[in-house]
Symmetry: C2
Subunit: 357 residues, 2 copies
């Protein structure tokens, strides 16, 4: 059982975390409880939650259809309407029981309802446990842009019940690990080495706890994403573009798959800028291809990727600003990257020997 | 020229404030400027703003139809769409040029666009200058409830150009003064006495500056409205209910008119609870009736008012919690008030001698 202090709240990790949640509820003074879940977490995780926290048996449940396409204003608007109709006051608590989609949507709904009610996160996917449920970023997709409307509002507590991972398909577990490896690359060389050499499924709780610890250290320095927090963007400038292009196609990528490709390409840009050696670049590539199924990328036209990268919200004044690695375990934010460097990185990836076999 | 420090930003008050705005723009590093106005402020105030801050000549202008009925999600949604289409990035600045409706709507739009872009307020009504433009509360009306969706997000600066008041009809000026008198009653006995004895139109700048100063002192203690800030609710528990009931009727009340009635009734409840003497209650009534046109109230059924008060977002756990005066210039928040005390106060007001003449 691990407990990590964040910005005014605790993250409780491990088998006893749902008992901690039950204690949190008992000590609290909320006027009403609302739980947001999707059809899967409502079926598989809700009974476990209620077993540990029976005080929630009469909570109001919002079941949202799973899938990013429901993280939109219309769904938020329906929930606000229902909250008003059930007379939810400023002292109500919203509990987000689900993956990143649920905590993004629920966090946004709570952060603006009556100018902000309290919410807590109970992440059920590895990605949400290790990454999305801490740090306070929330949002909905609007106008075709991911998280273009949202706030940065911290939860009142996060309860990471790692046993939920056993309810997940293996592919989803691996998908979540991309952000965990990223934490090692940008902030902790020893952790990266450990993740490279050992089987992470043997000690999920410690692996997740350390990832949250590292992310929390960064978020505390810069909650509003002005400087140090941008470290977390490593792999995401190209990764997000690749993910967006794949959406709806028959080769649709999972977030983790896209981010691994993004990290390899952005590591190559770091190498082009002499921030990484060739052997460090090789180490990163080999580790990823060892642990994750290598994903070949079919790119018809580099311009589609380049144009998405240009419109990224991380940019400023028309310049493409990336987070690059500076050796393994360290990074540099706001590094200006040229189109040529991006094209070189795409070519590096698409012409890897791995695809020849 | 007065400058007041608030939570991380300055409020500049007086004839030179728009020059200060121009300086603020020149020193800043924003990627684009957007101005939100209504048809009136776009016609009468925009030319004055642009004269003082010619750098804004090419700013994008959103003209919103005036009136509270446009402070809604559909309008916010259209603006977000337009911001996205014009590629507004996280370094864009939104300038709210208008009364409380514009700063409420614009503040909310800015506080969630790309998880928050900077905004500044240029209030054009007395009410917005003395009250709404500082403190960071914003919001839209949703599900028929005022400000039920919103955030508390501080602006980057507020510029109070008191000359704009000259563009306003007299009734609107008086409407705005209700909140100014309230500041005296809850926080500053000498200011209340000054406002009672002198003609405030003779020295608008000082009167507004002191009202902002007092409000700012309270907001700084409690930005998120947990305790001390509730002092600002004096007159609003009953006042909001009366205002809501009048909306759309032929006797529709201005916000200031409703709040003055609310303050008189809530002063009477303070008197019932022995927190005010009879002579203090008389002083409050006589001052208001001296300076503002007394407004007679036609109430068909007390239950309409009582039921709205019951559903007020300021309540907790089914109890009606008011802010009451404790002598003049001091107040007590979260005072529990009974139905009988509210009915007594309504009867006191509706049976005043003033209506007999």
């Amino acid at each position: 059982m691990t407990s990590i202090k964040s910005i005014g709240y605790n993250v409780e990790i491990g088998k006893n975390s749902l008992k901690q949640l039950s204690k949190f509820i008992s000590k609290s003074n909320y006027s009403a409880f609302y739980i947001m879940a999707d059809e899967n977490t409502n079926e598989y995780c809700m009974p476990i939650l209620l077993k540990h926290a029976p005080q929630l048996a009469n909570a109001n449940v919002f079941e949202i259809e799973s899938g990013e396409s429901n993280k939109v204003l219309e769904v938020a608007s329906n929930i606000w309407q229902t909250l008003l109709e059930s007379n939810a006051d400023k002292n109500a608590l919203l509990i987000n029981l689900g993956g990143g989609m649920i905590s993004d949507l629920g966090g946004f709904i709570a952060s603006v309802y009556k100018r902000g009610i309290d919410f807590i996160n109970v992440p059920t996917s590895l990605l949400a446990m290790a990454d999305a449920s801490v740090g306070g970023k929330n949002g909905i997709d609007f106008g075709g842009i991911k998280n273009s409307i949202g706030t940065i509002t911290q939860p009142k507590a996060v309860f990471v019940y790692t046993e939920f991972i056993e309810t997940l398909p293996k592919q989803q577990v691996y998908n979540g690990m991309a952000e965990v490896y990223k934490m090692g690359l940008i902030a902790d060389k020893k952790y990266w080495q450990l993740l490279s050499l050992t089987d992470f499924t043997d000690n999920m709780e410690q692996v997740i706890a350390h990832s949250i610890y590292l992310k929390n250290q960064i978020v505390k320095l810069d909650p509003f994403d002005k400087k140090q927090r941008k470290a977390l963007n490593f792999g995401h400038s190209i990764g997000h573009a690749i993910e967006a292009l794949s959406l709806g196609s028959k080769d649709e990528l999972l977030h983790g798959e896209a981010i691994i490709i993004g990290m390899i390409m952005e590591a190559h840009i770091s190498y082009q800028k002499k921030l990484l050696t060739k052997s460090q670049l090789d180490e990163i590539l080999n580790t990823f291809f060892d642990i994750f199924e290598p994903v070949q990328l079919k790119i018809k036209n580099n311009n589609d990727i380049l144009s998405l990268i240009k419109n990224d919200k991380k940019n400023a004044k028309g310049k493409s600003l990336f987070t690059l690695l500076h050796g393994i375990g360290k990074c540099r934010v706001d590094a200006e990257v040229t189109e040529k460097e991006i094209v070189n990185a795409i070519n590096y990836y698409t012409k890897l020997k791995a695809w020849a076999s």
